[in-house]
Symmetry: C2
């Protein structure tokens, strides 16, 4: 059977387990030219919250009764396509289910000898590419500049900060809790990390950014973003990647947009999938850093597809520590 998690109803505010429905479908048949694979890892990402709603979003909504979408790492279990051998590991977009089938055009074959296959949906997947494109193309950090990244221990934020360190920047993270902050500084080499839960965001931020902020990679939004705006330097840049703080709630009333004018800030919202032309370069550079140990990563793994809804609900509240995966096999 093909175990699946489908969207049962659209959430109002925070999603609950009741918005999801476990179901079994038949394992799809494999036609000529097609590849059947079994999901090993499913990626859970904040953007999925947008797809659960049918309001305006860059993400096409999942329909009620439809399988939730998501990036996956899988093993080929049956192939009628010469490009994919049985037993090969591939990454694709099979969603929250045990099996996927297609002509393989969207798949990329993975070499488990080089790096662990789970990296294909993390540091060397969409989150890593997001970090690379947002930091390099929008943030454009120069050596000696101060780069700040929120959700610093997350799948995207951790790569942003390490890349910025490689580029010679002072890097300040923002994360929830001392454990995440310690990891970001001690393991990833950030210069500082602010625990926003410690209750002194404004003061801690001022101390950690004595020369202001030249480049902000924003994943969170809300009060944190609004406070960060007060520390931006003239001619600074903001890569607006996510607003997870308000995905489940009414928008936070931003007070400090005037800083964009006063400081002639360039702010750019972006979605990495809008422009895939940068992926080959980004993937090559990131893979080199990961293989050499210059970029480290951390994973939170939930076991079994049935654990996916709870893990996703927790992710939206910052309950993950590093890249959130679901291991199906």
């Amino acid at each position: 059977m093909n175990h699946q998690i489908r969207l049962k109803s659209r959430p109002t505010g925070e999603p609950t387990a009741a918005n999801f429905e476990a179901a079994d479908g038949p394992v799809p048949e494999t036609k000529d030219g097609e590849v059947l694979r079994r999901t090993i890892y499913l990626s859970l990402d904040p953007y999925m919250r947008g797809r659960m709603s049918d309001g305006p979003s860059y993400a096409t909504p999942v329909q009620i009764g439809e399988v939730m979408g998501g990036h996956t790492v899988s093993e080929v279990v049956e192939s009628r396509n010469p490009a994919f051998a049985r037993g090969a590991f591939v990454t694709g977009y099979d969603g929250w289910q045990a099996y996927g089938v297609s002509n393989g055009k969207e798949l990329r074959t993975l070499d488990p000898q080089v790096v662990p296959i789970s990296t294909a949906i993390g540091v060397l997947g969409m989150p890593g590419m997001t970090a690379f494109v947002g930091l390099m193309d929008i943030g454009q950090p120069k050596p000696g500049e101060t780069v700040v990244v929120s959700a610093a221990s997350g799948a995207v934020g951790a790569v942003v900060g390490q890349l910025a360190k490689i580029k010679g920047c002072r890097v300040v993270g923002i994360a929830g809790g001392q454990a995440k902050c310690d990891w970001v500084v001690r393991e990833l080499g950030f210069d500082a990390c602010i625990d926003y839960k410690a209750g002194n965001l404004r003061g801690d931020l001022k101390e950690a950014t004595p020369k202001g902020i030249d480049c902000l990679f924003e994943n969170v939004g809300g009060e944190i973003f609004d406070t960060l705006l007060t520390r931006m330097n003239p001619f600074s840049r903001i890569a607006l990647c996510g607003l997870i703080a308000q995905y489940n709630s009414a928008p936070y009333p931003m007070q400090n947009i005037g800083s964009v004018l006063i400081n002639r800030i360039r702010m750019q919202g972006f979605i990495v999938s809008d422009d895939l032309s940068r992926w080959p370069l980004a993937l090559k550079e990131l893979a080199g850093h990961v293989a050499a140990g210059r970029i480290k990563y951390r994973e939170s793994v939930a076991n079994g597809l049935a654990a996916a809804p709870a893990a996703f609900i927790s992710l939206l509240k910052g309950g993950n520590f590093g890249k959130q995966l679901v291991k199906l096999v």
Copy 2:
């Protein structure tokens, strides 16, 4: 005597007449190499509000007791510099006073035969350059796109809209009152203009921008800006030029910044004086349009330096209709 208006005290909220002080200084002496000129027109501009405060701003604050700064059009009354003949008209930055003196490096000589000299501080001065640079370099409008400009009948907005029409765009203005809206549509050729005082901004905006907004030139901020954000198209641009709605008050709590992410908007705050390299090209293009009647302009003229404070206070509330000048002579 050199009549002057000096900053007497810093305003809290809306400036009042009591923040200004009329005073007489001696007419400055002219040393070797210097040029003395008598002010004919003083430009009043919203940015001056920032210079009355000492909070963070792109504009250096005027000191208490100092003459208020401002762009001027003047006549040379004494010259010990061969580059400037007595009787010549020049534009410079002499501020709120009857006479100015300097070595002339910052002056530009005007030819009254080509266009009226007052244009040098309006459509062919800083406001015109602001419109050109913000629209062309940040807005980057393409033929057929929808361009929206707030404060549409103002010195900057009127040029933005007419330039966008020349570039083949659908142009929608936002202005306060039916008279301004009528002028913008009938005289300047905008496709539509919304009277934000009519009380149906959201509905009127939806009707006037059936295909959304591709390019927003924002002069106002506050509720108008927040509402405009809900109409922005994917991959649209915002040239953030001014936030006059909040210069005298607490910032408006912006609810719709999420649109920047959802629609991958590029928003850029800018001050035209940051990059003067575009001025020669912009001036040439604008002067051609003005001389040919393709770009029209309108002036509100206050008579006498003593009228400057009241005219400025009124300007901040939208009391002007077109470029606000003070005529001294």
